[in-house]
Amino acid sequence: MKLTEQRLVRYLEESLDLEDVEADSELFSSGWLDSVSMLELIAFVEREAGIEVTPDDVTLANFDTVSRMLRFATGRAA
């Protein structure tokens, strides 16, 4: 799995134009990311982690912060 915290943060800052992203920054419940960015982010996580994300995986518990995404992807890839 290529997905690391560093790569994820860089993707969020460079491709999705966010600033000062930290491991615990709330990305969706803060309204920073909209539905288009959500689809792009999911595609990125799928590609980098080599996993498939189904619609009911896409929850705040799994995707709201960088650390939650990593935990989810690691669990799924294992």
């Binding site: 969706f28 539905s35 959500m38 929850t59």
Partner: protein, 720 residues
Amino acid sequence: MLKTLRDNYDRHGRALMNPAFVSLAVYRYGRWALARKHPAARWLAKKLHGFTNFFVANITKVWIPPEVTLGDDFHIIHAEGSLSIHPDVVAGDRLGVMHNVTIGTNMRPGAPVIGDDVFIGVNSTVLATFDSATAYALPPTPPLRPTCHPIPSSSVLRQRSFRDSRPSTRRLANAPSPDPRSPPQSNFTPPRNMNTLSTTFYELLADNLPTHAQKQALVDTNRSVTYAELCSQVDRLAGYMAEHGVRPRDRVGVQLHKTIDEVVAMFSAAKLGAVVVNVNFQWTLEQLSYVADDCTLSMLLIEPRCAKRLAKQGLPRSVRHVLVHGKSPADDGRFGAWALALDAAPGATRHQLDTELAMIIYTSGSTGKPKGVMLSHRNIVAGARSVARYLKLRGDDRLISVLPYSFDYGLNQLTTMLLQGGAIVHQPVVMPFEIVRTLREERITGFAAVPPLWNQVVRYLKEKPESLPELRRVTNSGGKLSKNILELMPEVFPSTDIYLMYGLTEAFRSTYLPPEKFSDKCGSMGRAIPGAQTFVIKHGEGVAGPTEQGELVHRGPLVSLGYWGKPEPTAEKIKPCPELKSLIGEEPVVYSGDIVRVDEDGDYWFVGRTDMMIKTSGFRLSPDEVEDLVAQSGLVGDVVAFGVDDDEMGQVVHAAVSPLSEPLDEAALLTHCRRAMPHYMIPRKFHVWTRPMPRTSSGKLAKSEIIKVSASAHAKEQAS
């Protein structure tokens, strides 16, 4: 007179040139002049008093007419700005006045009495019938006893002090009770249900107080507010805005995350008679700055992240103050923090005409720079009434709000609930799983979305069916749903009314298809909404009848005031229609730019845009038609069809597509098209988008951008 003058001198800093003392001295002299018995002496004394007007107007700026009776301890705290007191007012003993205060009334017969302990805040107006919200629903608050400086932090206190005041020693014998909440003593009883009487955007909110003060109004993820609490916050933020120089008709920019505070921000500006400019939360700082310059925003209410960047690069020229929804990035007075704003003294309601400008909605322009559509109070209130009527909205409804308030469709959800005293549940998270969870847990009764969101939610519900017995209605607007989604909707929403609607920001909403016609007329736009009129125009010929098609035009109270600062585009969009002259004369109508077909029953069907039509081998072709047919293949999600110039055919059809599963089976897609379409309609080329297609901030496909990217890639391929 000399004794009171000495008292005033003592109380106002023992300085002869203290403006407060000077104003009071002038006032005392005016009283003395008025009391002269000899007509000639009175005339002379009054002339001299009039002469002091010059002094008052230029130096002290406080004018109290001698007809006014002042209490013993009357104290002017700050003599800056103007002060006018209506001659009929009897001020109590301990009235304190800050600057820029107007106390006036003409609201009902008799002289109003201002109680002993009333303290009037900055930039306030005290009316005989009180305007403040919170009086209706108060938690017990200890009566306030201000002497000089303390300013009550909310109108709650102000109204409490009204009620708890001791009988004034100077109350006129025939004066009515100062407490408007005791109907038996009042000679005017306002109607209980005020909602039906709302004429302005602000009244849509405030008119809930007589009957719905304790009802839940707004729900965030971690808190909720009643109408009384919401109005009380609006009072205070309005006071803060007024303190920071917001005047009637000023534009106030709001770019906030979807929360209760965003709603507070909008109505605070509205209360002062300022124009609300809600800027989409997803817009960049550059776009926000464009809006700020375009309509000269005087104040901004934004999130800390945006404020931090603004502090670095400097404020847009017209912006005098920025209120930050969180911590302020700088300590220099340009920025203020939200928590402090809610300590301000209440702001006053400004009387407004329903024809005045209430709001500017920037349309996420598919071409050129965004344009600000100007909405009057009447536009907004008429839109709320019409939609509440045909969606059968009630006071027990709870709508989920996913769409932004910077989008007329999202804003209307809020205004309809305010009109009916219902509740709005904020859903800033766009994940289908989370939306469905909120629908279930918050017992949502109405859900509004746009096609891209419906695609996601309907597909999700198809896979994970959910019984949603409380959901009375779902609505679509902002674009046409694809046939696949339309067919799935009754399946995933078996007990829910499905409304298909159509409108454009310049006239908010034009048509809707009633849910009982959904299965018979699946995909139709229906007919005009209540209180609006639509016509289909064949240019140069007349009005289209059944089975004909033409451009939809819209007439009625939803026709907006045009584009801010852009008279020419306005005159192109909103103008008299020659084909309708015999029916409505020179009354301007909105030209939608949309071609629709009228069926045998008079229902409309969307055909396409006037300006996006593809012309190929002599046929006029709507991109939407191509898109529908391509989408029916089930192989692709989003489709954007467009014309590319061609030497032989004039134009040929291309389609940008995003595959539902990768890699796209292009051969199968082409086979489907060959089966489903006439030859001229078949796309010559598919531009495969592996990344999601860009969307406008309101969630629609950004067609012109998609076309531009696809076409330039195509041109490069041709050249190489």
